[in-house]
Every structure is written in structure tokens, then in C-alpha cells.
């Protein structure tokens, strides 16, 4: 076990992937000499060369579009999008090409592209630097989407994403890049938890609290705080956003009867909507209360000095827990 930061763990995972398979290459803006604006690819161009770690022109559609062409030739490109808000110029290539080419080619062409997207806010970023665009991608058939919440997962999941023959949107909770944790650098990839499986981070019995990426540590802290009040929360880290692991969540909800979902993305049409709807379909007769969503609001990501209102924090999550448990909460007494 080695202690390292989340960012270093991704770096180590990328290094393993580059080492393992000569067809793996990284492409993106500033990822070479600079090692990325977050230093996630630090040292990789030096060690693997400019053919394997490619500084691209400043054009996201170009990054994804050329990656698609490389897949036709058997490559496994790992594309870095510098910040969440810069993924949209590549949206057409992702939605109409990356997601559809395996289908279009009737299975003959594989698209093992990994799109690394540092996402989420809470760190005082400028406009377009703190967004949570995952819902756009989980609505897009043909893509997978995952997000690790700790260094060990980051190390393994980035390798699994690269090894996966399907395209994977790999969301990195950028405000956790400096989070430290123990990483087993020798961990056997084939023994790792499957990429599409959620994980119960903390068992509990009163309600199920589902989070992913940057909010998993917040959810765990909320569970600690709730425990102080005698409330036992089961915390699930989704890990996979597409497909959603309904099995793990449904099992939990059948035990707890209550579900709270939290994410930074806007509420309307966010992941929480799908999880709430899908769990209600599967567990209707077990539910004691409607699933509760604690999420960002339906606003553009706000300026740094307002973001503390937007990003769910421990208190807002606990308020949601109170709601799902029919305890006094901010909406008590409101009809509708």
C-alpha cells in the first residue's frame, strides 16, 4: 500500500495502462510538457514519448474526432477534456460518433475511448470550470460513465475504463484531486470490483444515501453526523453512472425503505431523477417516503462567492435525510 493523492493515483493508473498496452495513448490540451493543468499526466510524455502522450491543438471536437479515427486503427485513446465546461464543443463527436459507431458498424468497429473529464465545483472556479455534465452522457446510449471517489478506485477504475472495449466517460472529481488515500499499486485488475458496480461504503438501516464522485466524502461525513443523532444511514457510492447499478441500490432500499440521492448537477433531468424513477419502479411497495433529491439548483453554475449555496453540503444532505425520515425539516408543513 502506498499513500498518494487522488490525482497521483490516476497518474499511476494511466502509467500502468500505457505500460501494459502499446495501443493506449493519451491526447489532450497541455497534457504533454506541462503534464496537464492539474498535473494528472505529469511525467508521462517524458517517459512514453510524444507519440503516446500527445499535446493536441486547442479543439475538443478535434480531440475526440481524431480519437475516433485512431480507434478504427486499433488504438485505445484516452482523451483529456481540460475542464467539464469544455466538453461541449466535442459533444457532437461524442454523441453521434463515439457513442454510435459500434452500433453503426454492426459491431465491427470498437470505440474503446476513455474521456477523462475533471468535473464538479466547490473550489472557487471561474465560469465553465465547475460543471457537472454527467446527465447528458448517461442519457446517451452507447456510452458508459463512471466516477471514482477515492484514490484506490481512481487507480483501478481508470485502468478498467481504458481496458473496456466500450467508450467510457471518466469523470474525475477535481476538488478531490488532493485527497489522500492508500493505494495498492500491485492490485490485480481482474480481481477488482467490476466497473459497473456500485459499492456500499457504509452499511446502515434507516435510510439509503446515494452519492458519487465529489459528494461521497460529504455523504460519509453526513452519515457520521447523522449517527450522532442516532440515525443509521447506508451510504452507497454509485461509481458507475451508466449503467446505473440498480441492483445494489434497490437491495439497500428494500432494507431501509428510504432513499436520498445527492449530486452537484442541476436537479431537473439529472441523475437523481433517473435513480429516483428507477428505484420507485423497482421498490415501490418498500418505499416509506418518496425518494428525496438533494442537488444543485436549475441554474448555471454560480460564481465562486455563491457556490456554497449551490453545491450540496453536509447540512443540506442532512435536511434531505430528515425529509425522507419524516423528521422536522426545511419543508415541513408545506403541501406539494
Amino acid at each position: 500500500m502506498t499513500t498518494m493523492t487522488f490525482g497521483q493515483a490516476i497518474n499511476a493508473g494511466l502509467r500502468k495502462a500505457l505500460d501494459r498496452d502499446p495501443k493506449v495513448l493519451l491526447i489532450g490540451e497541455d497534457i504533454g510538457t506541462l503534464g496537464g493543468v492539474f498535473r494528472i499526466t505529469d511525467g508521462l510524455q517524458k517517459d512514453f514519448g510524444a507519440h503516446r502522450v500527445v499535446d493536441s491543438p486547442l479543439a475538443e471536437s478535434g480531440i475526440l474526432g481524431t480519437a475516433v479515427g485512431m480507434c478504427f486503427r486499433g488504438y485505445r485513446p484516452v482523451c483529456e477534456i481540460q475542464f467539464d465546461g469544455f466538453v461541449y464543443p466535442a459533444f457532437d463527436q461524442i454523441v453521434s460518433q463515439v457513442a454510435k459507431l459500434h452500433y453503426r458498424s454492426r459491431g465491427r468497429v470498437k470505440m474503446p475511448i476513455t474521456v477523462r473529464v475533471p468535473f464538479g465545483g466547490g473550489f472557487g472556479g471561474a465560469e465553465h470550470h465547475s460543471e457537472s455534465p454527467e446527465a447528458y452522457f448517461l442519457h446517451t446510449a452507447g456510452l458508459r460513465a463512471v466516477t471514482p471517489s477515492n484514490p484506490q478506485d481512481a487507480f483501478l477504475m481508470v485502468q478498467q475504463a481504458i481496458a473496456c472495449d466500450d467508450p467510457v466517460m471518466f469523470f474525475e472529481p477535481k476538488r478531490r484531486y488532493h485527497l489522500k488515500g492508500e493505494v495498492d499499486l500491485e492490485a490485480d485488475l481482474s480481481a477488482a470490483a467490476p466497473l459497473d458496480q456500485a459499492r456500499i461504503e457504509r452499511p446502515g438501516s434507516d435510510a439509503t444515501l446515494v452519492a458519487y464522485g465529489p459528494l461521497v466524502p460529504t455523504a460519509l461525513a453526513a452519515a457520521d453526523a447523522a449517527a450522532d443523532e442516532g440515525i443509521s444511514l447506508e451510504v452507497i457510492d454509485l461509481r458507475s453512472l451508466s449503467p446505473l447499478d440498480f441492483g445494489t441500490v434497490a437491495d439497500s432500499v428494500r432494507r431501509t425503505g428510504r432513499l436520498v440521492i445527492t449530486h452537484e448537477a442541476s436537479q431537473t433531468g439529472g441523475l437523481g431523477a433517473e435513480l429516483a424513477a428507477g428505484i420507485t419502479e423497482r421498490c415501490f411497495y418498500y418505499l416509506e417516503h418518496a425518494p428525496v433529491r438533494v442537488t444543485g439548483f436549475d441554474i448555471p453554475y454560480p460564481s465562486a462567492r455563491m457556490e456554497q449555496h449551490h453545491v450540496p453540503d453536509l447540512d443540506r444532505i442532512l435536511d434531505g435525510v430528515d425529509r425522507v425520515l419524516d423528521r422536522p425539516n426545511s419543508l415541513s408543513g408545506l403541501e406539494d
Partner: protein, 375 residues
């Protein structure tokens, strides 16, 4: 009245320098540089190019007829663009790789496509048809310009591999306005990717004349990106062949990307769903008819004594066979099976989609069981 600037109207004489080896009247114009790329083109090969163009036009006409008869949902004719496609398509080596748009019937023909695979998509049977790795040709692309980036990426990969392979991408005049096309030129130039951009400027993007897209000749644009270019008479199969051969050779041997603008004309509608009489002057079409790519090669063959009745009959038979083959392959296509739509979304199991498929299979089974029943 048009807001677009004062670019040359389509139909005007093309005055810029370009490569033409065969005049519209079928007279061979010597051009030492490009002629050297045609040294192997003897009488038989000339006749072969003619046969290719006639067969491809016949396939195109037959496909249009199949659409009119309800056998195809849609068809995008190449009528008028045979020389551009056969000339460039015949210049390709087997292991070159092609990223086409949706109109490259002639190129697919040169790559050895099967009849069924020309119509499967347009019949609505499948989202693509030929095996890209058998033809070394990607599935057709409908999103305008997207394939130019794919070609550039593929070419970058061939360079990583150290392969002496050229990658070629086809697109139209309209496509040059898309961001993707321009980004492809940026990437191709930056990485000196061995990619050949082949623009069939057929004067129209559906109803929009090329002057809506470009105020200068399209071939004038790539040099500013650091990509050399050439303009060729796209209705002259010899010029297209020579220019493409030279370009592919440059590209394969490390000279970086290259760009060809083939000036041609879409003599038919955009697709069978289109009605060009709504937007274009019939005189323009008449004018371009005098530059027909097939007629001019016929005239040249005649002048060379290569166009006797036997040859003509032989070509006619080849065309008839192709038409019959296409029709038989088309009407012989069997419909997809009920659950085929769920295949190949992912290459590894996906629990949510599996569940949807199972539920739908159950629905279908129940539905079939109930047929003739209550509802």
C-alpha cells in the same frame, strides 16, 4: 436576392488554374507533369475507366428506380460525379483507408463493395453495410464533416505505426463550412498526418450554391493551414486519376497532408426526397451536361478507335448485369429480426439495456401469443 457576397455564381466558367487532361469535347490535353502519372493507362485501362463510370451510373439510376418503386426509403444519387469518384477511387491502393460521406457509391464500387451493401442502409435494414476492414472503408457518414477528423486520426495512427498508408476522406463543398472540417485541417497540418482531403465541389449543398459557403475557390483555403492543394476538373476521369495518384504518393511518402478540390456537378437531386427545380436554373444543368464525364471519355475513346460496337455491347452488358444484380440483392434482403435493434449498442454486457431487451422480448412473446385474442 442574396445576402451572400460577390463570389462567382455557380455555372460561371471556372477561370482559376486547374488540372484538366481531357476537354469536355474529349480532346486529350498534354500536361507532362500529370501525364507521367498515367503511363500505365493503355487502351484497355482507358476502357476500364469508361466501363466503371457507366456501370456506376447505371447502379445509381437503378437505385433511384428502386427508391421510386418503394424498395428503398431514400437514395443519394452520384449522377454527374462519376469521374471524380472513379478517378480518385481507382487511384487508391488496397490498404489505403477511406472515410467517405454518404454519396460515394463510385468509391465503394472501386473498393469492391457487394451490391447488397450499397442499398442495405437505404432500405432501412441496417445502420451500415460493408465490413470496413474488408473494404478498408469506414461506414458512410451522415454528419457533415465529421469523417474528416476520423480520417485525420486514422492517418495519425498510421504514422504512429510507421505504415506507408494513405488515408483519404471524401466530403462536399458544403462540408467545408463545418468546424470539424477546419479542425481536421489544423490537426492534419500540426501532426503532418498522411491524409488526403478530397472535396467533391458539386456546386450545391442541397439548395445552397457553393457561394454561400465559400468566397474563394475551396482549394484556396487549405494552404493557409499549411496544406498544399490542387484544383482538378472533377468531370475528367484522367485528371482525377492522375492528381489523386500523385497526391496519394506524396501523402504515403511523408510529405504530410494534401487537399484536392474536384470541381464537378450534382446533376441529380440532392437525394430522391429533393426537388432541385425549386432552387436551380435548368440552364445550369444543361450547361453542365455538355461537360458530362462519361460523354467526354466516350469521345476520347472514339477518337482513339477504342469505342467499337463490341466494346459498347460489352459495357452495356456489364451495366445491365450490375443493375440486375443490385435489384436482386436489394429485394432479396431479409428484414432484420425482432430483437436485432438491441445488438451492438455495447460490446460488453450492460445490465440496464439487457433488462429492457428482456422485458421487450417478453412483451413481444406475450403479444404474439395474444394475437387474434382480446386486443
Amino acid at each position: 436576392m442574396s445576402l451572400a457576397g460577390a463570389g462567382p455564381a455557380t455555372g460561371e466558367k471556372i477561370s482559376e488554374p486547374w488540372v484538366q487532361l481531357l476537354t469536355p469535347a474529349g480532346v486529350r490535353v498534354p500536361e507532362p507533369h500529370y501525364d507521367s502519372w498515367l503511363e500505365d493507362i493503355d487502351g484497355g485501362r482507358l476502357q476500364g475507366l469508361y466501363r466503371d463510370m457507366v456501370v456506376v451510373r447505371r447502379i445509381d439510376v437503378e437505385a433511384t428506380a428502386l427508391q421510386r418503386q418503394g424498395e428503398l426509403a431514400l437514395w443519394p444519387p452520384l449522377l454527374g460525379q462519376e469521374a471524380a469518384q472513379i478517378g480518385s477511387g481507382r487511384a487508391l491502393a488496397p490498404d489505403d483507408f477511406v472515410f467517405p460521406s454518404y454519396r460515394e457509391t463510385g468509391v465503394a464500387y472501386c473498393r469492391g463493395v457487394e451490391y447488397a451493401d450499397l442499398v442495405k442502409v437505404w432500405r432501412g435494414n441496417a445502420p451500415s453495410s460493408w465490413d470496413p476492414y474488408r473494404l478498408n472503408m469506414a461506414p458512410m457518414q451522415i454528419i457533415i464533416g465529421a469523417q474528416a477528423l476520423h480520417a485525420t486520426g486514422y492517418a495519425m495512427a498510421t504514422k504512429f505505426d510507421g505504415a506507408e498508408t494513405a488515408t483519404m476522406t471524401y466530403f462536399g463543398d458544403g462540408a467545408t463550412s463545418q468546424g470539424d472540417l477546419n479542425e481536421a485541417m489544423v490537426f492534419a497540418a500540426s501532426f503532418q498526418a498522411p491524409v488526403l482531403f478530397f472535396c467533391q465541389n458539386n456546386q450545391w449543398a442541397i439548395s445552397e450554391p457553393v457561394r454561400v459557403q465559400a468566397q474563394r475557390a475551396i482549394a484556396d483555403r487549405p494552404p493557409g493551414f499549411g496544406i498544399p492543394s490542387v484544383r482538378v476538373d472533377g468531370n475528367d476521369v484522367l485528371a482525377c486519376l492522375a492528381v489523386t495518384r500523385e497526391a496519394l504518393d506524396r501523402v504515403r511518402t511523408g510529405a504530410g497532408p494534401y487537399f484536392i478540390e474536384a470541381v464537378t456537378y450534382r446533376m441529380g437531386p440532392h437525394t430522391t426526397a429533393d426537388d432541385p427545380t425549386r432552387y436551380r436554373d435548368p440552364n445550369e444543368l444543361e450547361d453542365w451536361r455538355t461537360r458530362d464525364p462519361i460523354d467526354r471519355l466516350a469521345a476520347y475513346l472514339k477518337s482513339e478507335g477504342l469505342f467499337d460496337d463490341g466494346f459498347q455491347a460489352q459495357v452495356r452488358t456489364a451495366a445491365d448485369d450490375a443493375a440486375a444484380g443490385l435489384r436482386a440483392a436489394c429485394t432479396g434482403l431479409s428484414d432484420p429480426s425482432d430483437l436485432e435493434l438491441f445488438d451492438n449498442v455495447y460490446s460488453t454486457p450492460h445490465a440496464v439495456l439487457e433488462r429492457q431487451k428482456q422485458h421487450y422480448a417478453r412483451y413481444l412473446a406475450g403479444f404474439e401469443a395474444a394475437e387474434g385474442g382480446q386486443r
